[in-house]
């Protein structure tokens, strides 16, 4: 069953056309992550789902109810803001229970649900504190708790973890995943962080300049990016792109395609070999990063951008050495002159 349907949604701020003809469907219970470069309209889209921004044209449908004209409070949603937006003049307990207070729920029920949410997030000891006296991670938990208490139809998150340090971010990421498992509520989550997107999402929506580039499961997007943008956006280090006429490129004709303008290969899909005729690409090592678990080579093959290779473990090959690279046919991505992926090669 669909929880949210976006039907040709457009958004204009005065003359600026920020979202262009977005059509999407999110299933009930699905965890959807919106990713895309800064300014592409993720927050705007989320805020339109929340009812905080009016829709310029198109239909916003929850279940089978058109909600374009409903106020945020009538949509039965909860939202976690990047800034947390905790009410500074209320203590944690009141912050958590504020939505119930507004709905004039009985004190007992309020107490019940607040302490339940506080229990889930480990906030029991902080109920009397004011937001001022909380650490960043604790504030983040309160913001999440406020959403949990609501028990809404839909959870919305706008970069909820971006103000936390790396360790806390991982911890909270796991909490959110657990939360989704436990509650099974539809969640829409905006992030910059690829790892968050890959680990949390049932489906990822990649946006660029106000348009949807591709929608799919994390692995689907990773293995079958629909175009250059998605291919370059997901994955770290980024996918290497080599022009079809690059002199350093030496592909057997079985791997090439006459309409391919650009070949893409992910750094982790490259085998390092001797720089001889069997190599698909040859270059010299410019920079080496040894991370322990992996070694990353930045290879100069005559183009402006280095060719990046990631091999597992510690590799002792030194800077300045000439090496060859080999790819498996199924790991090679081909893109035509419009930047769209050419998929037939894979089947054939």
């Amino acid at each position: 069953m669909t929880a949210i349907t976006l039907n040709s949604i457009n958004k204009r701020f005065g003359p600026v056309h920020v979202l262009k003809d977005i059509s999407l469907q999110f299933d009930k219970g699905e965890f959807v992550v919106l990713v895309g470069p800064s300014g592409c309209g993720k927050s705007t889209l989320l805020r339109m789902i929340a009812g905080l921004e009016p829709v310029s044209s198109g239909d916003m449908i929850f279940g089978d109810t058109r909600v374009n004209d409903l106020e945020p409070r009538e949509r039965d949603i909860a939202m976690v803001f990047q800034s947390y937006a905790l009410y500074p003049h209320m203590n944690v307990e009141r912050n958590l229970g504020f939505s119930l207070e507004l709905r004039k729920r009985a004190a007992a029920e309020k107490k019940d649900r607040t302490s339940h949410a506080a229990g889930i997030l480990g906030l029991d000891k902080l109920l009397d504190r004011f937001p001022k006296a909380l650490s960043g991670g604790q504030r983040q938990r309160v913001a999440m708790g406020r959403a949990i208490v609501r028990d809404p139809q839909i959870f919305l998150f706008d970069e909820p973890l971006s103000n936390l340090d790396a360790a806390l971010r991982i911890e909270m990421r796991i909490e959110i995943a657990k939360l989704h498992q436990r509650l099974g509520t539809t969640m829409v989550y905006v992030t910059h962080d690829q790892v968050e997107a890959m680990t949390l999402a049932d489906r990822i929506v990649v946006m660029n300049a106000g348009q949807v580039e591709q929608v799919g499961t994390p692995l689907d997007l990773y293995s079958n990016p629909a175009n250059l943008f998605v291919a370059g956006f997901l994955g770290s280090p980024k996918m290497n792109f080599v022009a079809h006429d690059d002199a350093a490129l030496n592909l057997p004709s079985s791997l090439t395609n006459p309409s391919a303008q650009t070949y893409g290969i992910r750094p982790e899909h490259i085998k390092v070999t001797a720089p001889d005729d069997t190599a698909h690409l040859v270059g010299t090592i410019d920079v080496v990063e040894r991370l322990g678990s992996d070694t990353i080579f930045y290879i100069n093959h005559g183009a402006t951008k280095p060719f990046v290779v990631r091999v597992p473990g510690i590799d002792r090959t030194a800077i300045g050495e000439k090496i060859g690279c080999q790819f498996q046919p199924e790991d090679l991505h081909l893109f035509d002159q419009n930047g769209q992926a050419i998929s037939e090669h894979k089947n054939g």
């Binding site: 009812g51 905080l52 409070r73 803001f81 937006a85 500074p88 939505s99 609501r150």
Partner: protein
């Protein structure tokens, strides 16, 4: 890393601070001093820092032999009324400026700026006519209306600043939590602007308490005079009775000074951007 200042620097700082305090307080001190100097000493000891004798006679006669208390009461009504209504109207307007983008916003802001730009004298005659038409001449209500109108633009900008300091996320969160926009304003934003509100109230109260021009033009009966007008009649009536005038002046200072001392902290705090964050 806290650098300890040279003692000489600290001494200079305190010296400068003392100079400021002295400069601020001396004229007020002088006012009070002449008010408590007995009449017979005013000329002989007029320029001494410290009179050889004190008296409260001037205060007694001002309070009980003149209309001072009537003026005082009128001024209180007008200033409190103005402060209240101005703050109410300006809060709503400041909120709209801070939180909405809408057609005509620039024009309205420009108009409000223009109201701050021309000599009020220019419009006293037309206002007089309008107030006469509304039968609001010589009435405290009329004065409150005019004062409110004149103070709204500045108070609006002030309030807008306070609202701008409150993150928009907060009321959006409240609206998602179940508030209407107005409820969000009342339950979440309003409590956070209290310092700003106090500051605006105080600012406007002080301004209304001081206003002379309109009070002079729009009020003519003794029973409706506000304090500045009353004091001005003092000046013309008792041109030589320095002691009484200064006593009256001292008494008139009390409410606005009290009010101001109470609110000046909020004023600085409220004007500080982002004071309520976090």
């Amino acid at each position: 890393m806290q650098k300890t200042a040279f003692p000489i620097g600290a001494v200079l700082r305190y010296f400068a601070i003392a100079l400021y305090v002295l400069f601020a307080l001396f004229p007020i001190y002088w006012l009070v001093k002449i008010a408590v100097t007995p009449d017979r000493l005013i000329y002989t000891e007029g320029t001494q820092i410290w009179p050889s004798n004190f008296t409260l006679d001037n205060f007694v006669s001002v309070l009980f032999l003149t209309d001072f208390l009537v003026y005082f009461k009128n001024s209180m009504i007008v200033s409190l009324g103005t402060a209240f209504f101005t703050t109410l109207v300006a809060t709503a307007a400041g909120y709209a400026f801070s939180r909405f983008h809408f057609r005509g916003k620039t024009i309205i802001i420009a108009l409000m700026l223009i109201t701050q730009m021309f000599p009020l004298l220019m419009i006293i005659a037309p206002i007089y006519k309008i107030m006469a038409g509304l039968r609001l001449l010589d009435s405290l209500t009329g004065l409150i209306i005019v004062y409110t109108a004149f103070n709204v633009p500045f108070a609006t900008f002030l309030m807008q600043g306070f609202f701008d300091g409150i993150p928009k996320d907060l009321e959006e969160a409240a609206m998602i939590d179940g508030c209407t926009r107005f409820e969000a304003l009342r339950k979440v934003i309003f409590p956070l602007t209290l310092p700003g509100l106090a500051a605006t109230l105080g600012f406007i109260f002080t301004a209304a308490w001081s206003e002379l021009l309109f009070a002079l033009m729009l009020i003519n009966s003794d029973a409706k005079m506000t304090f500045p007008v009353g004091l001005k009649t003092f000046v013309s009536k008792f041109a030589v009775d320095w002691g009484q005038m200064m006593a009256a002046g001292t008494l008139a200072l009390i409410p606005s000074c009290l009010f101001f001392i109470l609110i000046q902290r909020f004023l600085v705090k409220g004007l500080t951007a982002g004071a309520v964050k976090g």
